[in-house]
């Protein structure tokens, strides 16, 4: 394979490209679905091919071939260079890439010796049986990549992953209906150890909360958020808007732009207690990697420090726009997808409060453990998060379960933070972005934290 990829690089340069990147990628695994305890499907799959990205004539071209044959790979090289030149002809400013010290190494993680059908069946045994709907989807697969660039990168990786999705609905016409979705996974078998307990606990909450939770009175509350909430907040309101391609408009017609604007990036977005990081190299995590798709070595991205926006998720193209080095944010979900700036494991850094102390310190407020429906506008400024499990806090104690929504603007959410816990937990997600769409594995989380005086509606 090495010979083929090197030939492809050389061929691209011979066609006039100033930069060529060749990536072989294979994703292979098996998945299964279980519907209300019954077998739904079992599938095994393998996709592989070669992606070629080139800079030529001032433009950027991408082509992919579902093949390892020399003529097919050379065909992709020719298309990537031709399309780059065609794009360059109608660009005002030529595409440039940052200069980097690039990776030359390989790494492999051990296989995950689990069977998706058996795992789904095991988890279903632990799910509450009074639910109207219980569905499981399990996917176990391995991603192998070899990335070579014309400026010196050569990196091989083999990373297995396991992903579990569980959906639980209790529908009781006299009481209405409640749904809980659970996501679990990682890059080792250990990452789903304890999944039975999570399924058991979360599925049992559905009926209990359907019966007991009452609509919250609308108003402003001090809200204590558990780590699952921390995760969705950092992902949606910090991670995405800190992607430089969004900030510079490249996703404007699809995933959207950002409340951060070119020329005004380093703004105060949170209180002094808010420190948010994205770090791919956390062992065992679902978002794990050591080298990105452009051959840049992963390192922590210090997105927010002391409430200030300090660093942005970038690839080499947008690093060059800012005149900085890439922080290894370029990811592609498959061989036929272009690498673009993406999150990996994004989290709020822990503080020094015990989580229970934050609750005890709250006189009138709400504790939110987990969410249902959520969304955010495309500049990532105005968010809405449905409460799945939440409780009123009165004089430092958890009281009545409640349901409702947190409707909050990003600067208010992070600006009003006055307590950050010392606990820490990450949650699994699949992050969507790009056209064609690319779902990439990520985690998100951090500690319990409190944000004062937020708007809560029924």
């Amino acid at each position: 394979m090495e010979e083929l990829l090197v030939k492809a690089l050389d061929y691209g340069l011979s066609l006039g490209a100033s930069y060529v990147e060749v990536r072989w990628q294979r994703d292979s695994g098996s998945a299964a679905g279980l519907r209300n305890g019954q077998f739904e499907f079992a599938v095994s799959y393998s996709t592989q091919g070669v992606a070629v990205r080139s800079v030529a004539g001032g433009g950027l071209g991408f082509a992919a071939a579902p093949s390892m044959k020399l003529e097919d790979v050379f065909g992709a090289v020719e298309r990537a260079v031709k399309l780059a030149k065609a794009a360059g002809r109608v660009r005002k400013s030529p595409v440039a890439l940052s200069e980097e010290g690039l990776a030359k190494f390989s790494y492999s993680l051990p296989d995950i010796p689990l069977d998706p059908v058996e795992l789904a069946k095991t988890l279903d045994e632990y799910a509450a049986k009074d639910l109207t709907v219980r569905r499981f989807y399990v996917n176990i697969w391995t991603t192998e990549k070899r990335v070579l660039t014309s400026d010196g990168a050569d990196a091989y990786s083999k990373v297995p992953r396991v992903y579990v999705f569980g959906m639980f609905i209790k529908h009781e016409p006299s009481l209405s209906s409640l749904q809980r979705d659970v996501f679990l996974g990682g890059t080792s078998a250990d990452s789903v150890r304890g999944a039975e307990k999570a399924v058991e606990e979360e599925s049992r909450k559905v009926s209990a909360l359907l019966e007991k939770a009452r609509s919250v009175s609308p108003g402003r509350y001090d809200v204590v958020f558990a780590p699952e909430m921390t995760g969705i907040f950092v992902h949606e309101s910090i991670g995405h808007p800190f992607e430089l391609d969004r900030i510079y408009g490249r996703e404007g017609a699809e995933a959207g732009e950002s409340y951060l604007r070119p020329g005004n990036l380093r703004v105060k977005i949170g209180s002094d207690l808010v420190n948010i990081t994205d770090y791919p190299a956390l062992p065992g995590t679902y978002g794990f990697y050591l080298v990105d798709e452009e051959g840049v070595v992963a390192r922590p991205k210090q997105l927010v420090r002391g409430g200030w926006a300090t660093e942005f998720i970038t690839n080499r193209q947008y690093a060059a726009v800012l005149g900085v080095h890439s922080n290894a944010g370029a990811r592609a979900s498959a061989f036929d997808r272009e690498p673009i700036p993406r999150m990996s494991n994004t989290y709020l850094e822990p503080g020094d409060w015990r989580p229970e102390e934050i609750v005890r310190d709250t006189r009138r407020g709400i504790y939110v453990a987990s969410y249902t429906e959520w969304n955010i506008n495309d500049t990532r400024y105005s968010g809405r998060y449905g409460i799945f499990e939440g409780y009123l806090i009165e004089n430092g104690e958890l009281k009545q379960p409640i349901k409702g929504f947190i409707e909050v603007d990003t600067p208010e959410l992070w600006g009003n933070v006055d307590a950050v816990g010392r606990d820490f937990r990450l949650f699994v997600g699949t992050c969507g972005k790009g056209n064609p769409s690319q779902g990439v594995p990520v985690t998100m989380g951090g500690p319990t934290f409190r944000s004062r005086n937020l708007r809560v509606v029924p």
């Binding site: 098996s30 679905g33 519907r35 209300n36 019954q38 077998f39 739904e40 499907f41 079992a42 599938v43 095994s44 393998s46 996709t47 091919g49 433009g59 071209g61 991408f62 992919a64 071939a65 579902p66 093949s67 399309l83 780059a84 065609a86 794009a87 109608v90 660009r91 059908v117 109207t132 709907v133 569905r135 959906m167 609905i169 529908h171 209405s176 209906s177 749904q179 510079y248 408009g249 490249r250 996703e251 404007g252 017609a253 699809e254 995933a255 959207g256 036929d336 272009e338 249902t372 429906e373 959520w374 969304n375 955010i376 506008n377 495309d378 105005s382 809405r384 929504f405 409707e407 064609p436």
Partner: protein, 427 residues
């Protein structure tokens, strides 16, 4: 050849080979950011032994080891409760020539240049040439090759934005200039209006074809889908068919069968030609989309919607029948009288798929309308209600439709504008 090998190991097999040649131009800030070409070449295999089933897919052709592993795994699987024998009408054969991808950058230039008065535009144009070959152990076979094309462009003017989209089957179906003109028109309506936010309330809404097509497409995925009905996660049961479930103004047909539809296919992964599925006929729930497996489980007829595999049916293209309302936006605003016009939406999420409690975020210019005229731009608006209220409260549909598709739409749609009464909105 593969089929013959498979038949030695299993009782039934289906082999579907797909090859898709994709070309995509993406642009932002009025210039092309990337010109992409990617080929997909996959083989999908369905295997059954007794009532046990499994699926297999691979780039190119699966190797023998992969096939043997899948056959071995079959022995350890439980029976498939939705198992049905492989059979049905013979798949059609249809071939059309690939469209010319070199024209795509011209569409970008036309669309950008026609967006008068805007600061910048971003968007995409995508051309796919889809070739499929079908073969099964029941002796059936067929093949097709079709083109699909869509374009979407979002134009910006300060904090305001507008999105226009078009979809079809030929590059000539995309009138790129119209996209720019539509964006220009909406932004000129919104320019200079005061901007404000709203408190949660119920209001009358005018939804663009992009928004109404999006919401009805969601409904086909989650409610009028045989797989979701079997799982009890749909709002509807088989017994609901024939009941009034939506406004009498609403007729929705799944349109994958129609050669003019972006999502057209001659046959699905079961070799079944898609047929028109009336989902609502004048508001009466009339049918679900099915694979042969889900149809059999519910005692209904297959509809040819195993579009991306055998596991579950998916919609390919939705048609919302037009009404008798005005065709142009300003006359529709007059008909709305007082309420809000929502032009674009994204990020639709469910609190509960069964009850259809959802919210979706307004994305482009949203207008507050007073006395039939735009009075303000509303920032960060959301629709937050149930899908049931959306389909039950339709009060007017425009007589003109648009064929639209963009990145966040669940399924391409031919959709009119819709006025919907008393729907929850929030910020």
């Amino acid at each position: 050849m593969i089929l013959k090998i498979l038949q030695r190991h299993v009782d039934e097999a289906v082999v579907v080979k797909t090859r898709v040649r994709n070309y995509m131009v993406r642009f932002a800030n009025n210039e092309i950011t990337a010109f992409k070409s990617w080929d997909v070449d996959n083989t999908y295999i369905y295997l059954a032994k007794g009532r046990r089933t499994t699926f297999l897919s691979a780039t190119g052709t699966p190797d023998l080891a992969q096939i043997e592993e899948a056959v071995k795994r079959l022995a350890s699987l439980p029976d498939d409760p939705l198992y049905v024998p492989v059979e049905g009408p013979r798949p059609l054969t249809r071939r059309e020539s690939p469209e010319d991808f070199e024209k795509l950058p011209d569409l970008v230039k036309k669309a950008v240049d026609s967006a008068a008065g805007v600061e910048r535009s971003a968007g995409v144009v995508n051309l796919a040439y889809v070739e499929v070959e079908y073969e099964d152990s029941a002796g059936r076979g067929g093949q097709y090759a079709v083109n699909r094309v869509y374009m979407a462009m979002r134009s910006f003017l300060g904090e305001l934005s507008a999105t226009a989209a078009a979809a079809g089957r030929r590059v000539a179906d995309i009138k790129a200039e119209k996209l720019g003109e539509e964006n220009s028109q909406l932004l000129s309506l919104a320019k200079g209006l005061p901007q404000r936010r709203i408190e949660p309330t119920k209001a009358d809404l005018l939804l663009s074809p992009l928004v109404f097509g999006h919401l009805v497409g969601e409904l086909l995925y989650f409610w009028t889908n045989g797989s979701e009905v079997v799982a009890s996660s749909s709002r509807y049961t088989k017994e609901d068919v024939g009941r009034q479930a939506a406004s009498e103004l609403l007729t929705v047909v799944e349109k994958t069968y129609d050669e003019s539809a972006h999502g057209y296919v001659p046959f699905d992964f079961e070799g079944t030609p898609p047929r028109p599925v009336e989902v609502y006929r004048r508001g009466v729930l009339s049918g679900f989309i099915h694979t042969r497996r889900t149809a059999h489980a519910l005692g209904m007829e297959p509809t040819g919607h195993a579009l991306y595999g055998w596991a579950r049916p998916v919609p390919g293209h939705v048609e919302i029948a037009p009404g008798d309302g005005p065709a142009d936006l300003e006359a529709l605003l007059a008909d709305l009288r007082n309420g809000f016009y929502i032009h674009g939406n994204w990020y639709t999420r469910y609190q509960n798929v069964k009850t259809g409690q959802f919210s979706t975020v307004g994305r482009d210019v949203a207008l507050e309308v007073k006395d039939g005229r735009p009075a303000a731009v509303v920032k960060y608006i959301r629709i937050a209600d149930t899908m049931e209220n959306v389909v039950r409260n339709v009060a007017e549909l425009s007589k003109a439709q648009k064929q639209v598709y963009w990145w966040d739409m669940p399924v391409p749609a031919n959709a009119p504008y819709a006025i919907i009464r008393q729907i929850g909105i929030t910020t």
